[in-house]
Amino acid sequence: MDHSSGEEYDVHAHVTSVRTYILVFAALLALTGLTVLAYNVRLGDYNLLVAVLIATLKASLVCTWFMHLKYEKAFNTAFFVGSLIFVGVFFAYTMNDTSERTRVNEFSGGRIDPKTGGYTHGTAPVLAEQGSEELSLEAKESSDAAEPGSPE
């Protein structure tokens, strides 16, 4: 194991120019502004999608340039991006199951029993009637406002 002064002996990390860093930083600030702007525009469900897309764009900018993922060994990128697939699997199945539950009343959070239209046993408003947990002022209001079968 002789230590020739060959290329592979010393560390040759890639040095990015200052210009690149400044450009990336400016882009990140612009995107933050864009997110806030998008927030004020009423897009309904797409607001969430737009917010996540912009955040992902910013995140990939930070990853490729600030974290040098562009010049990194293939395995590091593969492992880091690969971990996102596992996050995706975790999201997909948990959301797939939890969104199947019985309809939830937005106001009181009470689970609506499909048959009787009333609240399922053990949810907050039902507990209120049982008096097992004294509810402060505004929750009482919310349970009045949210009578069973209240408008969606």
């Binding site: 029993d113 048959k115 399922t120 046993h121 053990g122 049982q130 008096g131 097992s132």
Partner: protein
């Protein structure tokens, strides 16, 4: 593979679902036996045939990709079949026919409460008509429980804050003295430091209920009259007190209420309770008469005696006759068994 009286491995088949489940169980069982015998047999044979003998060198390993592909993808066919059959049986057990009788099941720490359609409440016993689909709509009032009847091959968790449901159709009657046992199979703990934890309905392992499959006529009669007085109380001079005593056991009151006049934990002692004045947490007080006891059984949280603030007793919705029986039993504890009600 339908053996109604049950085999070495499986309990008797008492529901329409059971034969399907058992057939699939035995298909998997025999497939497993074949695989096991093949693998271990070949292993043992090779071990003997090629045992180490001096002077015999091992052959270098070849490789046989088609064989590898074969034993990677061929088992997929078998597994595909198992998945398909399994899912079919599962859907059959999960989706109830429309005309099923709907029974509300409430699990609470160590009791099962059943509510039949017209509002009749049963505690730790369930009567169902034979050859009729019964749909169970279940929820829990405290922690996770799970409703399991081995002979019906049905099991579903009972989750607080959510409805879970399943259905079954009993195929044969159960005898009076040997009802089906309902187990709780989701761990729900035990109270700290009760002395004899083998008593019924005092912890997770004794949270049992009995399922009686009766004729339709008997079921209809039961719906009118509500839960009957237990048979052994008939000859008793004070049948109501005897029923009350039996209820204290079957309804699980004994896990918190003693009757020896001494211990007052975790719930108040029943001996000497009837007629005594009770001081509440908010300072008011009241003599313990009939309706005090009725309300403290039906809505325990509405009137809490001082000293028991952090004991959250669940509501017990017993029928009027049952509450009268408990009151009669309390009177008998004080020795004033004058039935002047």
């Amino acid at each position: 593979m339908t053996k109604p009286e049950g085999t070495l491995q499986l309990p008797p088949q008492m529901s329409t679902l059971a034969p399907q489940v058992d057939f699939l169980y035995y298909v998997i069982f025999w497939v497993s036996v074949v695989f096991f015998v093949a693998i271990v047999g070949v292993m043992v044979w090779y071990t003997i045939r090629y045992r180490r003998r001096s002077g015999v060198k091992p052959q270098p390993t070849g490789h046989n990709t088609p064989l590898e592909i074969a034993w990677t993808f061929l088992p997929l066919l078998l597994l595909g079949y198992l998945f398909h059959e399994g899912f079919k049986g599962y859907v059959f057990g999960a989706v109830a026919p429309d005309e099923a009788i709907e029974i509300r099941v409430r699990g609470m720490q160590w009791n099962w409460e059943f509510e039949h359609p017209p509002g009749i409440i049963e505690l730790n016993t369930l009567q169902v008509p034979v050859h009729e689909p019964i749909k169970l709509v279940m929820s829990s009032s405290d922690v996770l429980h799970s409703f399991f009847v081995p002979s019906l091959r049905i099991k579903r968790d009972v989750v607080p804050g959510m409805y879970t449901s399943m259905w079954f159709e009993a195929t044969s009657l159960t005898s009076k003295e040997k009802p089906l046992t309902i187990f709780c199979t989701e761990y729900c703990g035990a109270p700290l430091g009760i002395d004899n934890s083998a008593l019924p309905n005092t912890n997770h392992s004794t949270m049992l209920a009995s399922l009686n499959v009766v004729t339709r006529k008997a079921y209809m009669k039961f719906l009118e009259e509500g839960p009957p007085m237990p048979a052994e109380c008939d000859g008793n001079p004070n049948p109501a007190a005897c029923w009350g005593e039996k209820l204290r056991v079957s309804a699980g009151c004994q896990s918190c209420h003693a009757v020896d006049g001494v211990t007052n934990a975790p719930g108040p002692n029943w001996k000497g309770l009837f007629g005594a004045t009770r001081k509440f947490v908010d300072g008011k007080s009241q003599t313990a008469d009939e309706n005090y006891i009725a309300t403290s059984i039906r809505e325990p949280q509405s009137q809490i005696v001082s000293g028991y603030a952090n004991v959250n007793m669940p509501p017990y919705r017993l029928s009027d006759k049952q509450i009268d029986a408990i009151i009669a039993y309390m009177r008998s504890l004080n020795g004033t068994s004058a039935p002047d009600k």
